[in-house]
Symmetry: C2
Subunit: 155 residues, 2 copies
DNA sequence: TCTGAAGTGTAGCCATGGCTACATTTCAGC
DNA sequence: GCTGAAATGTAGCCATGGCTACACTTCAGA
C-alpha cells in the first residue's frame, strides 16, 4: 500500500489548468494575509485619530494585543510604505492614501459585520469572525453582501 | 497639532473592557492563521489520497503553488504533530486524527463555498474567497450559513 | 542491469511578525 | 528648573513559511 504507483513521467509536462487555478487561489490567499496586518493597523489608527485626536503606538499595541515594540516596528513599515507619517515621539498620522485605505477598510468591515449579524450570528462572534473574513472578501463577494442586505431591508 | 495631548497617566491602570475584547479578537485571528496552513495541507492530502490513491510532496507543492522544499518542510510539521505519517520516499498518509480534521475542513469548505454561491457570487470568486474565509468562520457562523442554505432550499 | 530523469530530502538564506531587555525622550508635578 | 514615571524607540532573539541550490533515491525503459 505504501508503494507509490506508476510515476506519471511524461504527464508532468501536461499541466492541468485546474491545478494551476488552485495554486493561484492559494497564492492569492497568502498575499491577502500580508496586507491584512497593515489594513488592521491603518483602520485602528484612523479610529484612534477620530475618537481621540491622536494615535500613539502604545494605544495601538494595547488595542491589538501586541507588545509596544511590535506595534512600533509595524508602524515603521507603514511609514516606509507611505501610509503613515509622523515624527519620533509625536504619535502617528495618516497620509491621504492612508486615509483612503482606512475608509475602504472600515466600510468593508462594517459590511461584513452587518452581513453576519443579518444571518443571526451573535454580535461577539460576528465581530470576531469579521476580523478574519474581511481580508479575504473579493469585490464580487462584497457586492453580493451589499445586495443581500439591501434586499433584506426592503422586506 | 502634532503635540500629544495630556498623558492619561493614572488612567492606564483602568483598562477598558472593550479594549481587551478587541485585543482578544485580534489574537484569535492571528492564531487562526497559523492553523490555516496545516488545515489546507491536510485537506489537500486527503483529496489526493481519495482521487489518486497517493499523496506525493511534489503534487502537494504543485497544487498549493509552492516549491517542493516548502511542501516537504510543512509536511514534516504535519508528521511532528501526529497528523500525517509516512516513510521517506514513500508518499504521505493521514492518521485517524488527520482524517477527521480533513473531513471537518472539507465540510466547512463546501459549506462556505455553497453559501457564497447562494449569494450569487461567481464560482471562481466563491472558491477563491472561501479559501481565505473558511479558516475564520466560527461554529456560530457556520451554523448560520447552514441554516441560511436550508431555508433557501425549502423555497 | 544500468542509467538518467523525476521525485525526494537537506541546508541555508530571507522577510515577517512576534517577543524581551535596555536606552532614550517627554512632560506633569513638585 | 528637576525629576521620575510613562511612553517611545532600538537591538537582538525566536518561529514560521517562503525560496534556491545541492545531494540522494527511486524506478521505467533501454
Amino acid at each position: 500500500m505504501a508503494r507509490a504507483v506508476k510515476r506519471k513521467t511524461g504527464a508532468a509536462a501536461v499541466r492541468l489548468p485546474a491545478e494551476l487555478t488552485q495554486a493561484r487561489r492559494f497564492s492569492k490567499t497568502r498575499s491577502a494575509q500580508s496586507s491584512a496586518l497593515l489594513e488592521d493597523y491603518v483602520e485602528l489608527i484612523a479610529d484612534l485619530l477620530t475618537t481621540g485626536g491622536e494615535a500613539r503606538p502604545t494605544d495601538v499595541a494595547r488595542r491589538l494585543g501586541v507588545s509596544h515594540a511590535t506595534a512600533i516596528k509595524t508602524i515603521a513599515r507603514l511609514k516606509r510604505e507611505g501610509l503613515a507619517p509622523g515624527r519620533p515621539y509625536r504619535g502617528v498620522f495618516l497620509t491621504q492614501e492612508g486615509q483612503k485605505l482606512a475608509a475602504r477598510v472600515r466600510t468593508r468591515h462594517r459590511l461584513v459585520v452587518d452581513m453576519l449579524l443579518a444571518l443571526g450570528i451573535p454580535a461577539e462572534a460576528a465581530e470576531a469572525d469579521a476580523e478574519g473574513i474581511e481580508h479575504h472578501a473579493s469585490e464580487a463577494t462584497l457586492k453580493a453582501f451589499a445586495q443581500f442586505l439591501q434586499s433584506r431591508e426592503q422586506n
